[in-house]
Structures are given as structure tokens and as C-alpha cells.
């Protein structure tokens, strides 16, 4: 056993330890960064998913702020209601309302309710932690699953390279609702996440923040590689980090040296079939085209 330290953790964060998220989990890092940046005057509504089941095993909760879970599709509607009450009571400027959902809740199941919330213009920040599949229930593919990724519902084999559909462009969907603030971030760059949450909460109206969170068992990576994979996704152009204010591209994370998308793929087991079969190189080239397109579209280099 290592020597017992004389220092004890002050447990000063708004998410306590003792939750059951995997070692190296990206989602729980995102949850903690978002809540710490928002501060204690915050009400959170949470969708079903990893962020709910790992933190709130009855009769316990990891959260130290008002937190409510209803159904898979409901965080946006719940947040709308809370925001309406705060508006009526004149507390809108004092209390933040944040809805948190995974990519399954955001891209697929809750999309209609989120669209409704954005249309009504409620003063809510919607945070999507994007781990690119239904990781909580056993790695089924979602609208956010990228092209050629292996999931249990899009298995790679002799006739298939995994998911045959590209990732749904949720950022464009958000922009089509004329939101005052739409951005992507990743846990690989925690200071950027904190910065974006602070910036967006100062804006009144509906906001959307999509945080790229590697999933250790779902993507088949080592726990210590969560940061590395996120950084490779950004630096290969596969996951552009951008920020739109009133529909205009306000800021972007530029890439000093573009990594080949192959480096990003080869450390993840969900893409390992691309390196095992002869047709795989062609599929990697297709993914490279997506990355190059992102770089050109947002001018990342």
C-alpha cells in the first residue's frame, strides 16, 4: 500500500466522488467542469444515460445542487418549465438552468423536445456529452456514431465496416434554430470547456454546447488515453472545435499541425477492423475526406 497522505480532499467540486463512472470516463469530467463553471446557483435537469445512472444510485447522489431526472427525452422540457417559473418569480438572472443529455438523448430520442425548447427561446443551456453511441446500455449505435465505427448494433464483419451512416450534424440543426450561442468543446481541453460555459451563461436565451467525451469501454481505449484521443480528434480535423455567436463563427480552435486521421483511429478498438482487412484503407481514406472537409469548411489551419 502506498503511504497514507496527511492531506484529505476537500470535496470542493459540485460533483462528489464515489460515483460509479468508469476509470478515465470523459462524461463525468464534462459534468464536473460544466457545473463547477456554472456555480452553485444552478438547477440541472438530466436525461437518462451514463450521467444519470453513474451519479444517482438511489438513495445517493453525487450532485450538490438541485438535480432532477425524469425520462430519456425530457430534460429540455423540464428545463423549459423550470425556466418559466424562474421568469415568473423574477429570478431568471440569478439562477442558471442547465439540461444535460448524452448523444442518444440529444441526437435521437429528445430531439423533438429540444427543438421545442429552442423554438420557444427559453433561457436554458443544453449540454450534450457526445460519446458517439448508447454506451450505458451496451454500445448501441446512435445518430452521433461516426462512419465505420463498430457498435453492437452496427457490428463490423466480412460484409460491413461497422456504422454505414455518417454522424448527424447536430451543430447545423442547432444553428437552424437561430440560437444565440452554439459551440463544441472537448474534455481534452478542459480550460476551453470552462471558458465556454462561463461565456454562454452570460447570454440570455437558448444555448447549445456539445462536449466530445471519449468512452473508455465503448471505444476500446485505455483509461489514460481519454485526453489523448480527444486531442487527436481535434488535431486531425475529425471533431472541429467551433463557437457560433448569433449564427456567426466567432471562434475556432486552430490546428498547428494536422494529424493523419489514421493516428486517431488506430488507438481505438471500435475502428480496429479498418486495419485488419484489405478494404479498410479505402474506408480510412473516406474518414480522412471528412476530416479534410471540416478543416477547409471552418478554416482550421
Amino acid at each position: 500500500m502506498p503511504q497514507k497522505s496527511k492531506y484529505k480532499a476537500p470535496l470542493a467540486h459540485l460533483v462528489n466522488p464515489g460515483h460509479s463512472a468508469c476509470a478515465g470516463c470523459g462524461m463525468i469530467i464534462a459534468s464536473r467542469l460544466v457545473l463547477d463553471a456554472a456555480g452553485k446557483n444552478t438547477i440541472v435537469t438530466n436525461a437518462t444515460g451514463c450521467s444519470e445512472v453513474t451519479t444517482t444510485q438511489y438513495p445517493m447522489t453525487a450532485f450538490k445542487i438541485p438535480w432532477i431526472h425524469s425520462l430519456f427525452e425530457n430534460p429540455a422540457s423540464l428545463a423549459s418549465g423550470i425556466s418559466a417559473v424562474l421568469r415568473k418569480r423574477g429570478q431568471e438572472d440569478k439562477i442558471n438552468v442547465i439540461a444535460i443529455g448524452g448523444d442518444g438523448a440529444t441526437f435521437d430520442i429528445g430531439l423533438g423536445n429540444i427543438s421545442g425548447m429552442w423554438e420557444r427561446g427559453d433561457n436554458v443551456l443544453y449540454v450534450c456529452y457526445d460519446n458517439e453511441a448508447y454506451q450505458n446500455t451496451g454500445y448501441q449505435s446512435s445518430g452521433a456514431t461516426p462512419l465505420n465505427a463498430h457498435t453492437t448494433t452496427t457490428p463490423a464483419g466480412t460484409k460491413s465496416f461497422g456504422s454505414q451512416l455518417p454522424k448527424k450534424n447536430m451543430i447545423e440543426i442547432a444553428l437552424a434554430h437561430n440560437l444565440p450561442y452554439v459551440a463544441t468543446a472537448t474534455v481534452g481541453y478542459p480550460l476551453d470547456v470552462i471558458d465556454k460555459v462561463k461565456k454562454t451563461l452570460a447570454i440570455k436565451g437558448p444555448k447549445y454546447l456539445q462536449i466530445y467525451c471519449p468512452c473508455v469501454p465503448g471505444w476500446g481505449i485505455e483509461p489514460k488515453d481519454t485526453v489523448k484521443v480527444s486531442k487527436l480528434a481535434v488535431n486531425s480535423g475529425f471533431y472541429p472545435i467551433v463557437e457560433f455567436i448569433n449564427g456567426q463563427l466567432a471562434r475556432k480552435m486552430t490546428i498547428s499541425k494536422q494529424e493523419p486521421v489514421e493516428n486517431f483511429l488506430k488507438i481505438q478498438k471500435r475502428f480496429k477492423h479498418l486495419f485488419a482487412s484489405p478494404g479498410g484503407q479505402k474506408e480510412i481514406a473516406r474518414l480522412q475526406v471528412i476530416a479534410d472537409y471540416n478543416i477547409k469548411k471552418f478554416g482550421l489551419i
Binding site: 470535496l11 464515489g18 476509470a23 444517482t56 445517493m60 447522489t61 445542487i65 474534455v187 483509461p223
Partner: protein, 91 residues
């Protein structure tokens, strides 16, 4: 039978997840620590923290709480000063 639907905040703290560690445990070199707080930001458990004390170079150094540490190694990965090393844990 009545079941309450609310629970006390932060109650998971009573679950000591330190027994999740498999092989490696982080060790922080107080002298190399520059107090940048990146480990505090990246730790999935949120149990890297500032001790409030200074090392011989006058930098406030950080420490981790092994009661909860799951041994993922992200603190060692992100540390810009390479002050954290993952060491094999003898149990």
C-alpha cells in the same frame, strides 16, 4: 409504504472507490509540481486538490485522495510538469 424521491446532496462520498484501482497508483512529486491545477480539472473523480502549502520553489503543490482514486492515470497524462508518475501498487 412511503419512499422519499429526494436524497441528501453529495451522498455518494461515502462510497470509497479506491478499491477500483487495478495496477497503478499516481504519485505526485511535490517539488516538481508547479501548481497549475490541470490534474484537478481533468480528474474524473475530482479528487486532485491544492494542499495550500508551498514547496521549496514557492509553488503551491497538489495532492490526490487515494480513498477515491480509480487509477485511470489521466492526471499523469495531462501534467505539464511531469510531476505525476503512475507507479505499480503493491497491495
Amino acid at each position: 409504504m412511503k419512499i422519499p424521491i429526494t436524497v441528501k446532496p453529495g451522498t455518494t462520498a461515502r462510497v470509497k472507490t479506491g478499491n477500483w484501482r487495478e495496477l497503478y497508483v499516481p504519485e505526485i512529486d511535490y517539488e516538481k509540481c508547479i501548481g497549475c491545477s490541470m490534474c484537478e480539472k481533468i480528474c474524473p473523480e475530482g479528487i486532485c486538490f491544492s494542499t495550500g502549502e508551498k514547496n521549496s520553489k514557492g509553488k503551491i503543490f497538489f495532492e490526490k485522495d487515494l480513498d477515491y482514486c480509480k487509477g485511470c492515470g489521466l492526471c499523469a497524462e495531462i501534467c505539464p510538469a511531469k510531476a505525476i508518475e503512475m507507479k505499480r501498487e503493491e497491495k
